[in-house]
Assembly symmetry: C2
Homo-oligomer: 193 residues x 2
């Protein structure tokens, strides 16, 4: 095969494309290599392992999500900001489910670099809540609650766990967000007291 001077960036890009096209579950180094018209073993000239590539794609996914979220909350405050943020999150999960799954499958535990990238996830939420009169500690707890609701909802819908009942999923989603905003308001009252 004529040499084509592939770079590490080319490989990461192709991997993202492959995941978006075929799904994370059927991703393999051999398939990725096939798309690039090289053999699987040749990938190792650019990456250390499948895991490392996976982490790299994780960086990309997190930065994309953060970008969408920051754009969503720009110029907004309080409930409006939180709703927009949630919508951006929800839309990302629905529109790019495979990339979203990459974020979920990141092993936060061991990888310190990914761990700090986690702040990219936290950042927009903290910003959106800034308009509420909350203590810093309350915000730390509340961002966890927000992420739990969003992640839980998206992944259960994606897994098909919402099909028991024929009621509208978007309506359930709105209730979930409303619940979080109620909690924000309630926490604000507590902080004032």
């Amino acid at each position: 095969m004529a040499r084509q001077g592939l770079t590490r960036a080319d490989i990461i890009e192709a991997a993202i494309e492959l995941i978006e096209d075929e799904g994370l579950h059927s991703f393999s180094l051999r398939e990725l290599a096939g798309r690039l018209h090289i053999k699987a073993a040749s990938l190792y000239n650019h990456i250390k392992s499948s895991d490392e590539l996976h982490t790299e794609i994780g960086y990309y996914a997190i930065s994309e999500l953060k970008k969408a979220q920051m754009a969503a909350i720009a110029g907004k405050e309080r409930a409006e900001a939180v709703k927009s943020l949630a919508d951006a999150y929800y839309r990302f999960g629905k529109e790019r489910p495979e990339i979203y799954k990459v974020i979920l499958s990141l092993p936060m535990v061991r990888n310190e670099a990914i761990h700090t990238a986690g702040f990219d996830i936290v950042d927009p939420i903290m910003t959106a809540m800034a308009g509420y009169h909350l203590t810093r500690e309350q915000m730390m707890h509340l961002q966890r609650v927000f992420r739990s609701i969003m992640h839980g909802f998206i992944s259960q819908e994606e897994a098909g766990c919402f099909r028991q009942f024929p009621v509208d999923v978007e309506e359930s989603y709105r209730m979930a967000v409303r619940g979080f905003i109620l909690l924000l308001e309630n926490s604000e009252k507590e902080a004032r007291a």
Copy 2:
């Protein structure tokens, strides 16, 4: 190898044990066979495929979770019932993380049998909410919200996503549950109106 008359139930039981011991991620038919002192191919005398075994373990996991939940809400009402239910859910996720992961990894989409087993998950939640004056439709939405919060929280904690801040995870959990109860009370007011 001397014949030992293994049954399908023996194999499922051993698989559950193996998953609880070694983790879902490192589960394999060859390892399972090893534990039973047979060859991997011999497993196929009892099961149709790895997927089918996986589904079978899923039934077990769901029934275990339901059992814990039903016990938790017995004789309780309203907020007390919901809190107990949440605690049982949370405890299950923390105490049996690998078995909990089996539930999460079930492909609800295709398998109709598992789909109906999903009602085992819904059932305790609906029961716990029975004391609130809600419409049936509200309850269908609210059980989705409850499951989203619980699943989201457990899986993010398990994945190590809550380590950015040094605040107590249990406290975050209590806030999440409080948020859901606020939503229940708020929905009740709406239903009365």
